[in-house]
Amino acid sequence: MLLSPAPLHIPDGFLTPFISLVFWGATMIMVGLAISKTNKTLGERQIPLMGLMAAFIFAAQMLNFPVAGGTSGHFLGGALAAIVLGPWAGILVMTAVIAVQALLFQDGGLLVMGANIFNMGILTVVIGFGLYRMVIHRKIGARLVAAGLASWLATMAAALLTSLQLWLSGASRLEIVLPAMLGVHTPIGLGEALITVAALAFIERTRPDLLTSEKAASGGGRGWIIAGIIVSLLAVLLSPLASGSPDGLERVAENLGFLEIGQSAPCEILPDYTIPFLGETHLSTIIAGMVGALVLLGLLILLGRSLRKSPPHT
């Protein structure tokens, strides 16, 4: 009744074993790092906190608001978790959330859980925290803008990576899945951004001590800025490229006999796989994507201002 299956939770059967295992490996490395880091920096006191935060992300996904045409803004929470808890704890919290969604509700599969955790729990944290970390010492207005942009981008990047995984597994055709996923997630990401910004503004008004820079930066050094920027740039550059020229990517895949091998041993494809079209026509789509991001940035600045102007009393 409460959880509509979000299009980011891939069920079992859609990804090939190879892709599933690759992302399980990447996820296990990141979660292992997160465990050793949190074991070092956090005490046993943080364990109930992280458990409750995971339950909070779960429960917060129920709080939706009507957007247009019957859809509703819906909360994923990766960026917010990373901002309020720090990146490593954020990864653990999101891992627990996605694991329980898969185990208890079959929202997302078990064999593909590694990919799901990577898309929704690690990618969103890296982008969310990385971009926020850049402005962590700035005023609240700048931080809200960064948080909004980061959570929108994190949602889009998760949708992009999900589409790519489905395509690499031969479970969907890129020219269809990519525009569909990105299209569906543009408003979802916008809802995510609005909710994250408003929630942070509320926390800042009521308990600013929870968002102080030392605390949020626990375990999150400057390396996160670089990681966040690189991953964000990858997402920003890749999505217009891929959606501007899905035929190109598809043709490359076909020429390499990709869809066929895709089910048995796709290992041979990845090294050969290059993006052969950095021509001028695609520059325009990249620019279009960037203009879109700038417009969003402007909107978020306006929103941040309006939220900053109206604190009750501080």
């Binding site: 409750l52 599969g109 609005l194």
Partner: protein, 264 residues
């Protein structure tokens, strides 16, 4: 809110219910993996896998259709895979003209699509069977025995325990918003989109603060009762001879399915 709203555990006394959670978790994962590596279009192997699933349903005394009735959750995702039907590989089967577009389903594409469909449909049913026959705390404990890091299992245990409490809290917030939102007939409800988002965001922030403060209280309470960093249980979680037998038998059946799928 009662715990049963979320938990799909089905109280029953059966062979499958009594099996060790580790065995059930391992067999479920093995079953899903087995489906994933079966080649496309091996309908005989898929059919045997389905029989195994039906047997599981029957042995757990849930009724043959129990998992089937709950398996529709994968349906929205099937939309994503429909495009595969028109894969450029393989022999064309037909030609459909839809306005400007010509769709050509191929034999390769159709086999691939239905294989994906069957794989995910079988896999999700096995996962449903797992949670319907295993108490979630037992499952968490099983993962602990299977060497999942303790910090993760503890977080998951807390998540499970407080999911219901915080969902209640969220429902209370929603009810409060509802109670304060009057609407007139014939007039649009609510303010601008950003305003509505702001209200929802504040609710999320509020829920965050309540969870945060609750975690402090929980920590003090647990400390007061001698918490040392991990959760305890009375269930001994010992593997019996029956558990081993069930594990070996299931793995043998899965190997047989693989044999059926690959040897022609």
């Amino acid at each position: 809110m009662h715990i049963n709203v979320f938990d799909h555990y089905h109280f029953q006394d059966s062979l499958i219910h009594r099996l060790d959670a580790r065995v059930k978790a391992a067999v479920t994962v093995a079953f899903i993996l087995s489906n994933a590596i079966l080649p496309d279009g091996n309908w005989l192997a898929f059919a045997v896998a389905w029989l195994v699933l039906l047997l599981g349903n029957d042995l757990s005394r849930l009724g043959l259709g129990y998992t089937f009735k709950r398996s529709y959750i994968v349906l929205p995702f099937v939309l994503v895979a429909i495009s595969v039907i028109f894969s450029p590989l393989g022999k064309p089967l037909a030609q459909w003209h839809l306005g400007f577009i010509t769709l050509i389903p191929t034999n390769f594409g159709v086999a691939r699509f239905f294989s994906i469909l069957v794989r995910s449909w079988l896999s999700v049913q096995m996962a449903i069977l797992l949670v319907a026959t295993t108490q979630f705390p037992d499952l968490i404990h099983a993962f602990e025995h299977l060497r999942l890091p303790r910090i993760l299992t503890t977080i998951i245990a807390f998540l499970y325990r407080y999911l219901f409490v915080l969902t209640d809290e969220a429902l209370r917030l929603l009810r409060a918003r509802e109670a304060r939102s009057a609407s007139l007939q014939g007039r649009k409800r609510g303010g601008r989109l950003t305003w509505r988002a702001k209200v929802t965001g504040s609710m999320v922030g509020q829920l965050f603060l309540r969870s945060y403060e609750r975690s402090d209280r929980i920590y003090y309470a647990m400390l007061g009762r001698g918490y040392t960093g991990h959760l305890r249980t009375l269930n001994p979680h010992a593997m019996t001879r029956l558990d081993w037998l069930a594990l070996i038998l299931s793995l043998a059946v899965l190997s047989f399915i693989q044999l059926l799928g690959w040897v022609r």
